[in-house]
């Protein structure tokens, strides 16, 4: 039964203490009603109230965290199957597999891929440690993995091996991914003893379902579900059906994040791994394990992920500032456009293709496109003049030519008044015209 926010509000302490992270008890109640927050975020709920609300308000998919410090990772907590219905809350995370023999080589590869894109650090967040059969070697591998500062998954269904590794990496709060129908007792005992998330898998969805139910009966609800590596077809079918059962059909037994090992599904075929990683980024892979991550794979995958997991209610923005293109120095001309990420990428892409050195000036326009920002008063002669002052443009750049977007040609006169000494040039209406325009621009 779905509860209304008001029903929940009646049971809250109504003291607006903010300890739950919401500004008021009413706001908290509304979030709980939508499944966005768990009831136990409020420390003052009476046991009676919890019992009343308990099952009815539990989010359909649990939010699971693992890793510590900078490497802390958040999974799950989704409430919708499609981003336009509300938003996705936990982005897919990428892991690469390491083993005792390939550790150094893999680390060298993935250390190279670490960059920033629209305010987000892009790097492989997780190491997936494969058990080779020797507990001592596995413990040594775990120790090395801890030293990298990345989050850790122990892919190991042998209790002895898992214990040896957990001794070395328990403080890093890894995921122990190795529980199956045959080892529920030992694996559950280990995960509970060390306080780590347990990864569960099964020969098929029925077996997985039973194993999860058995673990839940033992009180363990700190789980992630491995969709298996029998075939690409099965892995995709499992990932979709698990998520759909939880969110659409309200079957809480499958209300956990997923792990997909595309490295195993397409061993040795990096391009196929890229395709599969893109598929599972679109559809329901919480952790995607790959063999490695080259720059060529990372650029599209991290970009795709950033797109899919943006909140549809909030536009993607780039930071205001001076972006130097094609080796521009202080003498290069200035161009300006808005901070809406899509506009920035299209415009800067065309500018780079022109080969003309440019100082691209991005002011805070609220993350809107050019015309919308102009209509909303976020892009005006005044806002650009203010940006010039804040960023000290006149002292940093010697050029006195500023190119403005064609769609706001109307600003030209006013800008000449607000920025005395500057020559204001109007660019074409569409970005596709920029290459020709810039090449022919006489300064």
């Amino acid at each position: 039964m779905a509860l209304k926010g008001l029903d929940i509000f009646k049971l809250t302490p109504k003291k607006n203490c903010k300890e739950c992270g919401s500004p008021t008890c009413m706001a908290f109640a509304m979030k709980v009603a939508q499944g966005g927050v768990a009831l136990d975020a409020c420390p003052y709920m009476s046991d009676e109230a919890k019992a009343t609300l308990g099952e009815a308000t539990a989010p359909p998919m649990k939010a699971i965290t693992f890793g510590t410090g900078d490497a802390e990772c958040k999974l799950g907590g989704e409430t919708v199957l499609f981003r336009h219905e509300k938003t996705f809350v936990s982005k897919s995370l990428y892991a690469t597999t390491v083993c005792s023999d390939c550790f150094d080589e893999r680390m060298e590869e993935i250390r190279k891929v670490d960059y920033e894109r629209i305010g987000e650090r892009m790097h492989v967040e997780i190491l997936n440690l494969v058990y080779g059969g020797d507990p001592a070697a596995y413990a040594a591998l775990a120790e090395k993995a801890v030293a990298t500062g990345k989050a850790i998954i122990l892919e190991c269904s042998c209790a002895e091996g898992a214990k040896a590794a957990l001794e070395k990496c328990k403080d890093a709060k890894p995921i122990l991914n190795g529980c199956n129908a045959g080892n529920v007792e030992e694996m559950n005992a280990l995960a509970t003893e060390y306080g780590v998330v347990l990864g569960v898998t099964g020969a098929n969805l029925d077996e997985l379902y039973d194993t999860v139910a058995a673990l839940e009966a033992k009180g363990n609800k700190n789980l992630v579900l491995d969709v298996g590596t029998a075939s690409v077809k099965d892995a995709f079918a499992n990932a979709v059906q698990i998520r759909r059962a939880a969110l659409k059909d309200k079957d809480r037994t499958f209300g956990y994040p997923s792990i997909v090992n595309v490295g195993k599904l397409a061993a040795g075929d990096r391009s196929m791994q890229t395709a599969l990683a893109a598929l599972f980024t679109m559809k329901y892979g919480s952790i995607i394990v790959m063999e490695g991550m080259s720059y060529a794979q990372a650029l599209p995958l991290f970009g795709l992920r950033q797109n899919i997991f943006t909140d549809p209610q909030k536009p993607m923005k780039v930071e205001p500032g001076i972006y130097t293109l094609n080796g521009a120095d202080e003498n290069a001309i200035c161009c300006t456009t808005v901070d809406f990420a899509l506009t920035y990428f299209v415009v800067s892409g065309e500018m780079e293709r022109s080969g003309v050195p440019i100082n691209l000036l991005i002011s805070d326009a609220g993350g809107y496109s050019v015309l919308t920002a102009w209509a909303a008063g976020k892009l005006s002669a005044g806002s650009i003049a203010k940006f010039f002052k804040e960023f000290d443009i006149e002292n940093k750049i010697k050029s006195r030519t500023l190119v403005i977007p064609g769609k706001v040609a109307v600003l030209k006169g006013e800008m000449e008044e607000k920025l005395p000494g500057w020559k204001i040039v109007v660019a074409p209406n569409e970005a596709v015209g920029l290459v020709k325009f810039l090449k022919e621009l006489k300064v």
Partner: protein
């Protein structure tokens, strides 16, 4: 207690569009489940892969691509070679040079090229225009006339020029058409309604609901496709049931990640590998979103995506 499966099949289904003739003819669409959900019900026709052939010739700065087309010096020869690419279901001839803001190749020349290609290959053809709405309204109509009987798909009719393409291409010469709109479900539906009012049946129309490379506003593409499929299947909206065809190569190979030289970005590695991965990731994401056909250019991408499709369905 076994897991209770709740397959999500719909009473409505996506329409089908067949292009080409004879044994090589291919059909896209027809499924009554969400994209690639073959575990819910069998998928009538697996997604198709088209290989892009540009009238500007092959980009010889890409070594692997150039090697594939080695010895094929004319566009017609290149089309013949492309038709042999493993995984290819159809060819997509891009008449880029016809753009009035580019080389502005005369209509007769473009038409002659299409005719020559159609005579040289027996696989189904998609003809992509110059992207200039005014030019395309004449160009695509003339191509439709010249390729009568070949059952080709002409891309794309937009709001500005759909009338002439509907009238000439489909109604007069019996070809298929693509309906292109800018990443918005309402625009897509509006154009389909206008085309329907011209008397063109849904079975002659595939939609291009817009495309973007991974990282370049792909969230709009993904959500538009999600909503189109939800309306088509869930609400039986027959003005959104046309299969979706998505040109991927033209987007993927024009973003910075696929263009910048290794000299400028040494860490990134060879340009061609970056373009290939961008094309593969974008194509896989489009197929996951609901494309019934994708247009690609690189043999490695075509091979990988062909294997991807057969692994899933």
């Amino acid at each position: 207690m076994p897991f209770k499966r709740m397959p999500q099949t719909f009473t409505a289904s996506i329409g089908t569009v067949t292009i080409g003739t004879g044994e090589k003819a291919v059909t896209m669409g027809g499924e009554n489940v969400l994209p690639l959900y073959s575990f819910d019900a069998p998928i009538a026709n697996r997604p198709l892969i088209g290989v892009e052939v540009s009238d500007l010739g092959v980009d010889n700065t890409l070594p692997e691509l150039a090697a594939f087309y080695a010895g094929a010096d004319t566009v017609v020869e290149q089309a013949k070679r492309a038709a042999t690419m493993p995984g290819a279901d159809f060819l997509a001839i891009r008449l880029e040079s016809a753009d009035p803001n580019g080389a502005n190749t005369p209509v007769e020349e473009s038409v002659a090229l299409c005719k020559a290609i159609a005579d040289a290959v027996d696989c189904p053809l998609v003809i992509e225009g110059s992207k200039n709405a005014e030019k395309d309204s004449t160009l695509l109509a003339k191509v439709a006339e010249a390729l009568q009987g070949k059952n080709v798909l002409l891309m794309s009719a937009k709001e500005e020029n759909y009338k002439s393409i509907c009238a000439a291409a489909v109604l007069a010469y019996g070809q298929k058409m693509g309906a292109e709109s800018a990443v918005d479900i309402n625009l897509a539906k509006q154009l389909n309604v206008l085309i329907d009012k011209m008397g063109v049946k849904g079975e002659n129309v595939a939609m291009n609901v817009g495309s973007a490379a991974a990282g370049y506003g792909f969230e709009y593409v993904a959500s538009t496709m999600d909503r189109v499929k939800a309306a088509a299947l869930g609400q039986n909206d027959n003005m959104l049931q046309m299969p979706i065809i998505t040109p991927v190569s033209s987007e993927a190979w024009s973003v910075k990640e696929a263009i910048v030289s290794e000299e400028d970005e040494p860490e990134w590695g060879p340009t061609e590998a970056r373009g290939v991965e961008m094309e593969i990731a974008t194509a896989a994401a489009c197929l996951a979103g609901g494309s019934n056909a994708v247009i690609l250019k690189h043999p490695k991408s075509v091979a990988t995506i062909a294997a991807f499709i057969s692994a899933i369905i």
